[in-house]
Amino acid sequence: MKTPTAIRATAADLPAEGASPPPPRRRSPRGIRRQLPTSPWLFAAPGLLVIGAFILYPFLSTLVNAFTDKRTLIPGEFVGLDNFRELLHDDMFWIGLRNSTLYVLGVVPALVLLPLLLALLVQKHIPGITFFRSAFYTPVVASIVVVGLIWVWMLDDRGLVNAVLEAVGVGKVGFLSDQWLLLFSAMGVTVWKGLGYYMIIYLAALANVPRELHEAAAVDGAGAVRRFLTVTVPAVRSTMVLVGALASVAAFKVFSEVYLMAGPSGGPAGEDTTLVMLVQRVGTGLTGRVGYASAISVVVFVVTVALMLLVLRADRKEDA
């Protein structure tokens, strides 16, 4: 494809009549090479500026701060690995790491499997199915603060759920006062809110599964469960990996659900604190320890990358 620059260059270089034919020229005149390297950068500049200012700079800044004793209002000094050493002896850090890890273990399998089953249910073309698709997606668009508060009211000692449990003779359950029940309740909210989002991803993947495969399996005598395991699951496996990766990262960085349900102190005696809640607690405010909070952020980053690599590696092994 010729650019206007290339056309100008060719016209200017036309040989005089009778002159011997010029030697064959390369397809990439020098003019093009001079122009091209800058143009893409100019097009990308606005995006790069935004990424640089709002992602790259804060990220690098966090990395640097992790090795300082910086406070909100006091510039820090380099302290080497002191912040990381302190982490090792900070009980709250280990509680945060435990809870964030538990969150991944509890939430990810549910968010990989349940939306797939939901997608299979609403995939069928039957009258009124659009209503159910929309209904399942509604929690995704709802504000997490509103969702969190609604669940707090429902799970309260005098809330709807406990009223039902008391009515059927089970008695009151301390969903919001027991450290483990509180964490599991928050996991439940995360799964409930995320179902619709991942369901849409699965719906797109299921649309690409050839119907003939199901028909052939049915002809061979495979039942619904068998067809699900041998046709559907292999066909959407790469989507399951994607969902697993996205859900793992989101679960490890959980903040809002736990903060709203367990309160700013992180549940009874802080036992439901997650790592990101800890970052917020120690790093913000006028006396915030920015350096120490940055060190925790770096740990979150490293674990996040490790989780992604783990999921993708598992996927590659399956491919091999």
Partner: protein, 427 residues
């Protein structure tokens, strides 16, 4: 290879959702407070615009009229995240010239040299304010006073007469001291078979103060609430918790959730302010019919008070105008006007003797106002100015461990003091 590079890039992007902003430098202030009052200044308030827009526009107009050549730009910030907003402004060098603060916000700003020392720059105004209020913005270990005292607040304890009666307690004799509270709470839990709790909150630093526990050492260099009296208070709370006299969700309660519990009549007592009466009337008429009002629970005879202040940014380029405006907003006339707008109390000398705070008119609102104004004459701010939000969380978590029986009250308070002392040194 392609996938893992993408994965790394994605993870890098995701990890940056936790950015922590860098501190910024700041220019030094340029003028003396005694110079000519002129120029443009910025005034920041704490969640006041929605309710009091006309009042503040009037104050600003009056100031500008009195001081030709001045211009005041008013900005208001929401209550949520107010400290974070000030942090960001202070770190970025964009702190407004005049800022509405509380003592715990002033302390770090003063330590960072961002709060003007009024003892040096505006000492002539000191006599206009109540002595205790003026001192509330002094920081242990730092010379000076760093904000004009503004409005004071204290509040009664509301109690539910019906729940008291149902539990076999005399609704006309509400608890006044912690001894009364522990006795009534245990009785109430026993008689209601654990269905009604006396309180919805675990003890906070103010409770230790009102129980008579020394909160800091005399030098102000360390915390001292782990002494025998503090351990005694926590031990008694543990007994109340075991008897189900504290709400089951007290360990994670916030002031808002505790208020909600009182509104839904699942706890019998809750501290509040005169503002709450209107809410009860509107949101919980059945509670309002049974509402009882009593003094703050205190074993020292003194109530806890909250103090608001108005700080001048030491880096302001319009120091005379900023000091003059901060004083104007907090002077006797303006404070009386503001107190008549909302249920707060002036910190200026003699204002609490105004008939507005002493003369009954038979309404509940006036009864609460007069009782609060009376208690303010001896009240103390039981939250040390150096007690940060993180320290409050540490204390709450250690108290929760003691109540759950995971550690003894003594060990819990020792741990809390140790952590708070460490945070104090690091601040």
């Amino acid at each position: 290879m392609r996938i893992s590079r993408r994965a790394l890039a994605t993870a890098a992007v995701l990890a940056t959702v936790l950015p922590l902003s860098a501190c910024g430098g700041s220019d030094s202030g340029s003028s003396d407070a005694s110079g000519k009052v002129e120029g443009k200044i910025t005034f920041q308030t704490w969640n006041l615009k929605a309710e009091f827009k006309d009042y503040f526009n009037g104050v600003i107009a009056d100031f500008e009229k009195k001081n030709p050549g001045t211009e005041v730009e008013w900005v208001d910030r929401p209550a949520e995240g107010y400290a974070d907003k000030i942090s960001a402004d202070a770190a970025g060098g964009t702190l407004p010239d005049v800022v509405n603060v509380s003592p715990d916000l002033v302390a770090p700003l003063a330590k960072a040299g961002l709060a003007l020392d009024l003892d040096k720059e505006a000492s002539e105004y000191r006599k206009e304010y109540l002595d205790g209020a003026w001192k509330s913005h002094q920081i242990p270990g730092t010379e000076g006073t760093f904000a004009f005292p503004w409005y004071l607040n204290t509040g009664p304890v509301f109690y539910n007469k019906k729940l008291f009666k149902d539990a076999g307690l005399d609704p006309e004799k509400p608890p006044k001291t912690y001894d009364d509270v522990f006795e009534a709470g245990t009785e109430m839990a026993k008689n209601s078979k654990g269905k009604v709790a006396a309180l919805a909150n675990v003890p906070a630093i103010e409770d230790f103060g009102r129980y008579g526990v020394p909160l800091m050492n005399k030098e102000g260099t360390g915390f001292a609430f782990n002494d025998a009296k503090g351990v005694e208070l926590l031990t008694r709370y543990k007994k109340l918790y075991d008897a189900e006299g504290l709400d089951a969700q007290a360990l994670t309660a916030t002031p808002e959730s505790a208020g909600h519990k009182f509104l839904t009549q699942s706890v019998a007592m809750n501290p509040g302010s005169a503002l709450d009466l209107a809410n009860f009337k509107k949101d919980a008429p059945s509670l309002y019919k049974n509402i009882g009002i009593t003094d703050q629970i205190s074993s020292t005879g003194k109530a806890n008070m909250y103090v608001m202040g108005v700080m001048v940014n030491s880096q302001t380029k319009q120091k005379p105008a900023a000091v003059a405006f901060a004083h104007f907003v907090t002077d006797k006339t303006r404070q009386m006007q503001f107190a008549k707008q909302v249920a707060v109390f002036p910190s200026t000398e003699g204002s609490l003797d105004d008939p507005y705070f002493t003369k009954q008119d038979g309404t509940d609102e006036t009864k609460v106002r007069i009782a609060a104004a009376e208690s303010l004459k001896t009240a103390e701010n039981y939250t040390p100015v150096l007690f940060s939000e993180q320290m409050k969380v540490e204390l709450k978590n250690q108290v929760a461990k003691a109540l759950q029986g995971k550690q003894s009250p003594k060990a819990a308070l020792d741990n809390a003091v140790k952590t708070c002392d460490r945070l104090l040194k690091q601040s």
